[in-house]
Amino acid sequence: MNELSLLEQCAERPMISRELLAEKLLPLLAQKARERAIHDTRSLREEDAEALLHGLVYALETHMAAENLPQEALEGDIFRLYDRALETLRALLERARRLYPAVQGALPAYASRALRDTVGSIGGFFARYDVFLYPHRMPCDIDYQLSFPVPENAQGVSYILLYLSRLRDECAFLNCFDDARVRALLCSYYIDPYEEVSNLFEPVAACALARSLPGLGGASLLWLTDGDKRRLFDMQIDQGMLRDAAETLGSALALPATVRALLLRTALSLLPRIRAARDAYALGAALGCGSARPTL
């Protein structure tokens, strides 16, 4: 299991029992209160304690997930464990920092306002992120929706790293296609793609996958004619066909493994929509092609 998967897993379920944490965290919390420059105090307001505790728990859980440590790790020197947890967070931060310019550079020319604003805001995250006191916080605005959201419970730098990784993969896929064709497809799908906060990858991937099904002629056209829609409707698309289409498309575009995995996940997620389509036109819409014919 890779590190990003572990971060996702960590976000989805707490790894440390709350009783154990409460007992072990008091000395750490006292240290954090001093670091926060709360003058020589033996008690804290609950909201301050809660914010500091949140950060401590996030740091420890992230480290324990990344290092695959058992709960027993908490029985040892908690200060030492916490120091290592900070090292883990710093390493994740560095990874996210290195990934950021790659994502900036990969934004397609037709990127929406929400996408541009979100990526710009993540730039501010690196300046404002507080790894010592509030590492669970995410000082930036994420407006742009990914095709598969980062797990809801992901926090701090874990969230940003997962978000950037997924966005990089989405952009890598989008950049395989001619800009004009993508714009045309998006304009048929959204009223105003530039002002749209919804995901740009999803309709493009759906259409490209549909065109990668047998007899459709390949993904580069990035549009479904009425004849294509009828053919697809008659095809009785099943999970195996979508899986094959994802594989075909991944090979044709020479996509890296992470993008192929995203494509496969997208392909499989299309099945309920395909099954729900009552006619060829509804199926076209489910596969990324709106009613308006694209103008190149």
Partner: protein, 147 residues
Amino acid sequence: MAMELISSLHALSVQGAVRELTSCEDVLDQNGITLHERDMLDIARANDDALRGRGRIALCGGTLRQLAWTFADSPHLCQSNFAQTMCALLPLFYELKNELEDEVPDDELMQALRDAFDGRAHGEIEALEGLSISEIFGKHEPNEEDE
């Protein structure tokens, strides 16, 4: 999540309070004060109530010990009123911590309370409770006539 932890921390702070009071027996003894088990439990409970009531949690203990040390040699306190005064001081102390947004160190605030208790309040806890922050810190509070 963190609120569950806060509840657990409250529970831990009660357990530690009695131990903490036991540890200052010597200082109290020098001033003719003996805290019986029942007094300690009353103070521990008052501390817990005061913390919860003012939305605070104790960190690694020490508040009760320091407060006892600070007030032990007050000329207004003796065996008969020490525990009761401690119970009344705790909510006042935490209330001031909140009002001062933790900007004043514990020891400084306790000393200011002690000085005000012995001085302006003449050893009356009700009078101490009625003082403003400026008065507790021994500052002259300007009234409308002064302005």
